[in-house]
Amino acid sequence: MRKAIFRNVAVVSAIFVASFAIMLITNYFQVRSFNPLQADVMETLKKINDENANNVALQEQIRQLDLMARRAYFVNLDHLKTGIYLLLAMLGVLIVCLRFYFAGEKDIPGKQIDVVDDWIIKTHARKYVGWFASALVAVALVFVFVTASHLRGTDAPNTPSTDIGQIAAVGDESTAQGESNVNQANQTRQGEENTVQGNSDDNATQSLTTIDNASDISSGFRGNNSNAISSAKNIPDVWDLKTGKNIAWKSAIPKHGFNSPVVSGNKVFLTGADESAREIYCYDLRTGKLLWTLAATNIPGSPQVMPKTTDDTGLASSTAATNGKQVCAIFATGDLLCADMDGKRLWAKNLGVPDNHYGYASSLLAFGNSLIVQYDNTNAHKVVALDMATGNEVWSKTRTDKITWSSPTLVFANNRAQLILMGNPAITAYNPANGEQYWRVDGLSGEVASSPCGAGGLVFGASEYAALIAVDATSGKKLWTANNYLPEISSPVATNENVYLGTTYGVLACYDAKTGALKHSHELETEFYSSPMIVEGRLYVFSNDGKMHIYTADSEFTLINSFETGAKTFATPAFIDGKIVVRSEEGLYCVATKK
């Protein structure tokens, strides 16, 4: 009789425990999947409320929901707790009842599980252990195989996909156009490079040499060395966005910026920024597909609120720089971010939030494995070189110049690479390998925004309302000054004979490099923000309205072609063999001659 009671109680409690456990578990999963306090609905409603002031109905709705969420959370918690206690109590009852129910029976199993003979058991056991061991090995093998293929998968993208065909084509290219000024200039410079002595860092010079000669890379603002001279070949001389003529591809750019594209291998890099994010973009040079985006986030010292910038400067005015292995970008927040070619972030740091009334705008310069940053703001005046792979400081120099928006340039003169920095009031040349100052020439004033250029052992720099200054880079002596037409934002470019520049009020001017005499000027009813570039003996320059002007880069400075491209353009295009990559206000596009 008592046994029957225990049995019945046990059965009832077992049913209770089972059903209650199922209830609790489902309840638990419901709460887990929908945490009332973290519900998305609330966040969305609150955001909507932030945007619409004084929407009483909405506020009321939020308040109701909030109350419900809190109630749901705490009541649920309470239920869970009592539920568990109840479950445990019933479990206790079940076990006690079961024990009493079976108390009369001793633990004697009805039939013998094991065979009587000990040795047979052991023989079986050995067999099972053997099976088990082989199963372990099999599982391990499968595990290794599965995970190993996974590992290889992550390693593979490390090898950058360079277009071998293009590199080969560069090698084959003959230097048939030897008579043009530019090529002469290039040859002179190459000659100088060959005789470079131990004065500057050998490694850096070597990689610099390779960059300089490469025409499939446009490493920074205004091309390699930021000197506005490109050795690219087969450059198209006409295109039209409206009709699609000679347009290889067009792509939208997620966030705006005034910086220019840089190119390495098959990858085009540029940056964009707004209040919400600052990003590096990588596009495929062949297709225009956006390959990756890397945002500058989580950088120690990065400001929470964006520094004030003007509309014509913005947060992303500085052009990125690449050495073919890393790409680095800087933003008006002072955030410096470096990634490898596949968009894997390598390092990032904040150089100190710039105090800059327009917005920080100097572009980066890649010198071998060093990244050169001109950082002349109201609150800090310095130039630093950082290791592009690690972000470690190679050298750093404090500068005395006032706030400047211009970008560093590399020039070859006096058998050595010289890093030329514009400033207020001076142009200064440094050893790019260690920051040692070579020479310094005064003569600039006001807001210095245009960058220097160099050719034939001379360095030229200009700022509006001051002067165009020519400096002998060997002696560091000022040769001449001119002030007929001066650039404000656009930067000059030079050949051995001439200096060319575009002004904000629409004049393209050509000066004699030796004397400073004005040779030619073309008055166009437009404005020049974008900088002229010299390619294949021709000068390419965009006016702000999106018109492309192509002139001969000789002493005649005659117009070859001038045409509407169809989109406003402020950035300077990047030239690589057979292609021009242009950032217009409408997006990014690539010009290539259609065969």
């Binding site: 932030d50 939020i62 929901l65 705490f74």
Partner: protein, 190 residues
């Protein structure tokens, strides 16, 4: 085997001998192990409690959901000496708040665990009601982004089960949860 045991009626059989030498080895092992460990344990300061380093904490909110307890042992604490007693409190109010009142749409805390009391113009005192706090870290994030950082997360040692390995410490993105010695059971700002 049979033969050995039969031929040797002496109690010191091979098995017994093995067993004895095993005992000696085991005893020696225990003695030396406890010696070494005792030395280790008594030499250094033992880190005992789990605690959050407020300088490392990023207020990711994982403390709320990863504690082994159903309501996390991590709570927000408030160091009044650091507090600016602001009217517009970044821990109390949501960002971009329009009206400084206690309406739900303006509140940062999802459970209303922060109590606000007027002190004197223009100061307000904020206190945490621990029984309501779920350790989500929203207020601490707000306070550290916009204010003095007087609100921050700490493991309440009276609630913490002091697991051998804190489950939150394994998911903490900034390794902010670490063992601390008895003397520093709380890492408080001052």
């Amino acid at each position: 085997m049979n033969t050995t045991e039969q031929s040797n009626p002496n109690p010191v059989t091979r098995r017994n001998f093995l067993r004895m030498s095993g005992s000696i080895v085991a005893g020696g092992a225990i003695a030396s192990l406890s010696g070494v460990l005792m030395k280790n344990s008594l030499a250094g300061e033992t880190d005992y409690f789990w605690q959050i380093d407020p300088t490392k904490c990023t207020y990711c909110g994982r403390c709320e959901t990863n504690c082994v307890l159903s309501i996390s042992a991590v709570k927000c604490v408030h160091t009044h000496k650091v507090c600016g007693y602001c009217d517009l409190c970044g821990g109390y109010y949501r960002t971009n708040v329009k009206d400084l009142n206690t309406a739900a749409e303006n509140m940062r805390c999802p459970t209303g665990a922060i109590k606000r009391v007027y002190v004197e113009d223009p100061y307000f005192e904020y206190t945490i009601d621990e029984s309501l706090c779920i350790g989500c870290g929203k207020c601490a994030k707000g306070c550290n982004s916009f204010g003095n950082g007087s609100l921050y997360m700490q493991v309440k040692q009276d609630l913490c089960k002091n697991c051998n390995e804190c489950k939150i410490s394994k998911v903490c993105p900034s390794n902010a949860i670490q063992r601390v010695p008895y003397a520093k059971a709380y890492i408080l700002k001052d």
